[in-house]
């Protein structure tokens, strides 16, 4: 199966290349916005876990190309562990969003102003231990939420990728303390066979009795201690097991039924179109050396 076969199976992949997006993910944000219109009238946004940058491209086009007025007050900051090729009107930072220092850097770029919109499409590498993977994913969302509580204006919107696993209802419950409406949305461009969805949190309501305080010495958990969102706090004793608050968020499928189905196999791709090159820059996996050794036949069972 070559590239063209991937094109055939995945129309969004093809469409992304045609429209100049770096990844098919762009359509997820576009379809979410089609449903919620959260990008109308926003001027300052943060795109976390942004590489290769297709969401930032969508944001850049929306903020700058569609409306050329008041450009000086507009701001897009994109953050990722991986380096990103520059995008017009986007400030990129290569950093770990779980690190408190990173959050300080982003806040510095906003010079005391608030953001209208924070999104995170981040996903850690999975190990296959479902509970650990889900935990790490939720920590990533909490890190994004941490920044959100420091930076988002009242009434602003927070969007993050989630995997609807075992403890997702705990996250729903916690987010509903901070936002007017919490929806679990699945764009048609996200595969039905994957557990991926997006949590769309509308109408930020900062808690009145709690002031977010970033401290490089605090973990995300420490940060939220005292903020009454139903997360477990420990004082001087590790408490007995108890059922933690859970709630089920409203589910919305977006993108409309006339949009492409990412699970379908399409045939109407011309057989001999030359496959376009992948739009993402090649990554540098940590196991590159191991692959090289394997190729050289140095990882055989001959011991």
């Amino acid at each position: 199966m070559g590239k063209s076969s991937k094109d055939k199976r995945d129309l969004y992949y093809r469409k992304a290349k045609e429209e100049g997006y770096r990844a098919r993910s762009a359509f997820k944000l576009l379809q979410l916005d089609e449903q919620f219109h959260f990008l109308d009238n926003v001027t300052r946004v943060v795109d976390l876990c942004a590489a290769p940058g297709s969401w930032s491209q969508v944001l850049s086009r929306r903020l700058f190309d569609d409306d050329t007025e008041n450009n000086s007050s507009k701001r897009i900051v994109a953050v990722d562990l991986q380096p990103m090729f520059p995008i017009d009107n986007v400030t990129t930072i290569q950093a770990d969003i779980t690190h408190p220092k990173t959050l300080n850097k982003i806040m510095d770029l906003f010079e005391g102003e608030k953001a209208d919109f924070v999104c995170s499409d981040g996903a850690p590498d999975v190990t296959g231990l479902h509970d650990l993977d889900e935990y790490v994913q939720q920590q990533l969302i909490l890190s994004a939420l941490q920044l959100t509580t420091c930076l988002l204006r009242e009434g602003g919107v927070f969007v993050a990728k989630i995997f609807r696993g075992r403890d997702i209802d705990m996250l729903y419950s916690q987010l509903s303390f901070l936002f007017e409406r919490v929806v679990c949305a699945k764009p048609r461009s996200s595969r039905g066979t994957s557990l991926e969805s997006f949590i769309v949190c509308l109408g930020y309501r900062p808690p009145s009795d709690w002031k977010p305080r970033l401290d490089v010495n605090m973990s995300v958990e420490d940060f939220f201690q005292g903020c009454d969102i139903g997360r477990l706090t420990i004082d001087d004793e590790i408490p007995n097991y108890r059922e933690e608050p859970r709630s089920i968020a409203e589910f919305i499928s977006c993108g409309g039924l006339d949009s492409f189905d990412s699970d379908a196999t399409y045939h109407d791709v011309p057989e001999n179109t030359t496959a376009l090159d992948p739009v993402q820059p090649p990554t540098n996996p940590p196991y590159k050396r191991a692959l090289e050794l394997k190729r050289q036949g140095k990882l055989t069972r001959a011991v």
Partner: protein, 995 residues
């Protein structure tokens, strides 16, 4: 009120630990205790409510358990005594990566994922929280080394920032190792504190000197991520386990170099998570994603040095044997007392294993240069032959000290011989000689084994294109295996009679073994047959009726297959070569029993029983030295629990009819591309896999029994197979593919998402409908006479992927129902489109004057039910014109829809009757009606099984239960004497009873 109760659970096990003669294993929310000497599962104790046990630490009688955010501290006796210990569970606010007792046992340390240590007293009061200032990176791994009451080191494996070793008391970083790439998955400190070892996403192991802080060496070898490491044998060795399903032993040299010493393939794809070593017994225990708990002898089953010997020709001549300069060993055979070998000079050598002595027995110049050696162990006999049809038969005394018979023969009937096969059967010795001339018959010599007298000479006419490669006897018949995977059956009582020739019974070429298994009440004789290209089959032969049938065909994962047989425990064992290795593999339980790096299949070798239950010897020549390798019966049970699939189970199907009392068969289809045929004990939920089929080449989609005999499975790449199950033999149930569905293109890349069948009364024929990822819908007729699928209808819904399909009969009508990813239910009336008359919900007879039409009729009804794809549906016929559809969707909703056929049978009207939008916190992956369709079970990815009363036509939630299977994806049910049995699959498998 009815209760769901879990009978058994098989699933990922993350940690294992030796404790005396026991193994403690974290098994989901449970701790299992096994006696590794007897293999017995001593107790199962539930310790957490929802979280999996990821680790445990034992100090005297105190056990510290942790997993996720849960921790628990209890007296070890409680694990034996109480089935439920969940009352001790505590919940931390951060993930607990590791835990240890303090030196004096008065407190415990918990390392959390934010690189901080909670120092707690024994009732989990937090005495102190320790961390390194400014180092709050998130951890994937970490361990705590308690050196003494004051000195405690934390070895933290971060996601982004390498390994940090810090001092708990001073909260100062001692070492920061940054040579790895990617996340650190494990860090272990050596027992005596000199080294630390770590592994990361870069797939290497690094050994660090904790005194100097230097990287000492890097171990490469694993082909995927490494999950766990452990020092043992006084820090001279390190063991590693990995995603690649191997466990590797590394020797640490004086100067700290890691040298890979052995590799063990122990678990099924993918991931071994846990490992521990018992230093005294030199055994390891491992646990994996497949739910297996495995004991491995690190000395690879050699008890002493004499179990593994090499003799060069020089060594042999030092025993006083005179060898010419170019004399080499040409062949050998193993008897009770030792080895007999033939040299290129016709010299017969003997190795007495007791005396450890080589001697020269005789020289027979007829066997200079070309000879073949074979023997019969039960007769203490070796046979040498050459190309001129000359034979030498030597029968020894049991101790090998005397030659009891010495017979030299010349077979004049053939002019030349290229092949001499030898077997003993019923105290007779059989010798079969084959000439290179295809016109010559097989020549067979039969004589009394005791005195080599009463020679009988038999000739058999050779079938076309036949070169014998193996043979077996059964009663009066000889069965020969040949190239081109052909078998020929000869009647020994009637040599004139033409052989029965069974051509191409396997996909490969040369048949390497034929073994009799059993004879059933129908006088069908079962044989296992293997071919060198890696395929094996079970063939039932009825010698009286001269009929045969292949009941099972399968292939090994890779390599060459030299033989296969059942062992004493009833496990099917295969052996052969994989590149430069010789391997023995337990095909039933799916693990490597033994392997030896011998250089490959092209050399001279023999693998023979070694006089004792499960005792074997492997002999081979490498660099003109002769190597012996004894393979003993395992000293301990090799498997404490076998597990099931190592990846997600996509579908399950139970056969309704029991196999025999209290047992039933079911199939599990997995993302790992295999289908397993398993036997379930209905009473206690115990599950035993009998066969693992490797026919599909992509992840499985569905499997269903369509009746008691046939099962259908489907997968991506348009694979759909019809399987036939045979349960008339005692040894095992057998299953084989009898027909494959034709695909629509040469390079099929469509997924068959689902299928449905409707039987045609009084025949084994059925209507099959398949739905595809490109929105295609096809209807087929399976004809058992022709054994073909004939296409009746081929059409499309729209462009979206179709997820489910069903065929519903309403009195005289046949309705096709499909659910696409758009969340709708779509119906077509197929009545006029199939060539059968339908009466009383049944397809009864052929419709006269049927006009085939390739396209579907217009859609009869299409209603929106879910706002995302329907993952699973069930049907219930309410009246002769009405049915309900029960659905579960990706939108977390459950629904009941109703469809009514109007009187004229022209239109169908549908509506949603009952809808619960928050039916689960996550995708509902399976719905199942049970208890005469009064109850609906749903399974969802949030790991909750819900139970609805649907008797009144709407959904009334009655109860819900937590399951430990992540990615819960499929359910199948079976009615039992006391209620129902539910099989639930996902990443793991559990059996529940509903009473």
């Amino acid at each position: 009120m009815s209760q769901l109760r879990q009978l058994s659970h098989t699933g990922p096990s993350v940690c294992v630990k030796f404790h005396g003669k026991y193994v403690l294993a974290g098994y989901g929310v449970f701790v299992h205790v096994y006696n590794y000497e007897s293999g017995e599962l001593v107790s199962i104790s539930r310790v957490f409510h929802r979280n999996k046990v990821h680790g445990l630490a034992i100090r005297e009688k105190s056990v510290l358990l942790y997993g996720g955010r849960s921790v628990s501290l209890l007296d070890i006796d409680y694990l034996w005594g109480n089935a439920d210990n969940t009352r001790f569970e505590k919940l931390c606010h951060e993930w607990v990566v590791s835990g240890e007792h303090s030196m004096d046992g008065s407190s415990v340390f918990l390392l959390t994922s934010y690189n901080k240590v909670l120092c707690c007293d024994l009732s989990f009061r937090v005495l102190q929280t320790k961390a390194v200032y400014g180092e709050r990176s998130i951890l994937y791994s970490g361990t705590i080394t308690v050196l003494n009451q004051d000195k405690v080191l934390v070895n933290a494996g971060t996601v982004m920032d390498g390994v940090l070793v810090w001092d708990l008391k001073t909260e100062k970083t001692i070492h920061h190792f940054t040579d790895h790439e990617g996340s650190i998955f494990y860090v272990a400190a050596s027992i005596k504190g000199r080294y630390a070892a770590s592994c990361s996403d870069d797939r290497s192991i690094k050994l660090w000197d904790l005194h100097s802080g230097h990287l000492v060496s890097t171990g490469w070898g694993h082909t995927a991520r490494i999950w766990n490491l452990k020092f043992y044998d006084n820090d001279s060795k390190l063991i590693s386990v990995s995603e690649d399903c191997t466990c590797r032993v590394w020797e640490i040299s004086e100067r700290g170099t890691l040298i890979q010493k052995s590799i063990h393939e122990l678990h099924q794809t993918k991931s071994i998570w846990g490992v521990d070593v018992n230093d005294e017994k030199m055994i390891a225990v491992t646990s994996g994603n497949d739910g297996r708990i495995k004991i491995t002898d690190l000395n690879a089953r050699t008890k002493s040095d004499s179990d593994s010997r090499i003799f060069s020709l020089d060594d042999i001549s030092k025993h006083g044997v005179k060898l010419r300069p170019n004399e080499i060993i040409k062949g050998f055979y193993w008897l009770r007392f030792g080895l007999l070998a033939m040299t290129s000079e016709g010299q017969v050598l003997k190795f007495d294993q007791k005396a450890e002595m080589w001697t020269s027995v005789m020289t027979d110049s007829r066997f200079t240069s070309y000879s073949a050696t074979s023997g019969v162990q039960e007769f203490d006999m070796v046979i040498f032959s050459n190309s001129r049809c000359e034979l030498l038969i030597l029968k020894f005394s049991e101790d090998g000290n005397e030659i009891l018979e010495n017979k030299q023969l010349q077979i004049n009937e053939l002019t030349k011989s290229t092949n001499c096969l030898v077997r003993g059967y019923n105290s007779k010795l059989f010798l079969v000689m084959e000439s290179p001339n295809p016109k010559d018959p097989f020549f067979c010599l039969r004589m009394d084994a005791s005195n080599l007298q009463h020679e009988e000479r038999l000739y058999f006419k050779k079938p076309k294109n036949f070169t014998a490669s193996s043979f077996a006897f059964y009663e009066n018949f000889a069965i020969f295996g040949s190239r081109f995977s052909t078998l020929a059956i000869f009647d020994l009582e009637n040599c004139e009679r033409e052989a029965t020739v069974l051509r191409k019974i396997l996909p490969g070429d040369t048949i390497t073994s034929i073994d009799f298994v059993e004879k059933n009440s129908e006088s069908d004789c079962l044989f296992s047959v293997s071919d060198r290209d890696g395929f094996y089959c079970f063939i039932s032969i009825n010698f009286l009726k001269r009929s045969h049938k292949v009941l099972l065909q399968n292939r090994i994962p890779k390599g060459f297959l030299e033989g296969a047989h059942y062992n004493a425990q009833g496990d099917f064992i295969t052996y052969g070569f994989k590149s430069n290795l010789f391997y023995v593999f337990n095909e039933t339980k799916q693990y490597e029993v033994f392997s030896e790096l011998c250089g490959g299949a092209h050399r001279q070798w023999r693998y023979l029983p070694n006089f004792g239950l499960d005792e074997f010897i492997f002999i081979y020549i490498k660099a003109s030295s002769i190597n012996f390798r004894k393979i003993h019966k395992a000293a301990y049970p090799e498997i404490l629990r076998n597990g099931l699939h190592g990846r997600e189970i996509r579908d399950l199907c139970v056969r309704t009819e029991p196999l025999h009392l209290g047992k039933t068969v079911f199939c599990s289809a997995s993302e790992d591309t295999t289908i397993k045929l398993n036997v379930l004990n209905v009473k206690d939920g115990e599950t035993k896999t009998v066969w693992t089929f490797r026919k599909h080449t992509s992840g499985l989609q569905r499997c269903k029994f369509i009746n008691n005999k046939f099962m259908i499975s489907s997968a991506a790449r348009e694979e759909l197979y019809l399987w036939e199950l045979t349960d008339t033999f005692m040894s095992n149930p057998y299953m084989t593919i009898i027909c494959a569905l034709p695909s629509s293109s040469e390079i099929p890349d469509l997924r068959i998402m689902d299928f449905a069948c409707k039987a045609i009364e009084g025949t084994e024929d059925f209507i099959l409908t398949t739905v595809y990822s490109d929105s295609a819908i096809k209807v087929w007729l399976y004809s058992s006479d022709e054994n073909t699928f004939k296409l009746l209808i081929s059409d499309k819904y729209q462009t979206c992927c179709l997820l489910n399909v069903a065929l519903v009969t309403l009195d005289t009508e046949l309705i096709l129902v499909v659910s696409p990813t758009d969340g709708h239910l779509v119906c077509w009336n197929l009545t006029k489109y199939i060539p059968y008359v339908i009466q009383n919900n049944k397809l009864v007879k052929v419709l006269e004057g049927f006009q085939p039409q390739i396209h579907l009729p217009d859609i009869s009804e299409r209603i929106a039910v879910h706002s995302a794809g329907i993952k699973s549906f069930e049907f219930k016929i309410i009246a002769e014109n009405r049915f309900f559809v029960y659905t579960g969707g990706d939108d977390n909703a459950v629904a009941i829809s109703e469809f009514v056929l109007d009187k004229s049978h022209k239109t169908i009207q549908g509506c949603v009757r009952s809808f619960i939008s928050a039916g689960a916190a996550s995708t509902i992956t399976s719905v199942k009606l049970i208890r005469r369709d009064m109850t609906l079970l749903t399974a969802s990815v949030d790991q909750v099984v819900r139970y609805y009363d649907v008797s009144a036509g709407d959904l009334v939630l009655k109860n819900k239960f937590y399951t430990t299977n992540a990615d819960t994806g499929c359910i199948d049910t079976l009615s039992s004497a006391t209620g129902s049995i539910a099989l639930i699959g996902g990443v793991g498998f559990s059996v529940w009873t509903l009473e």
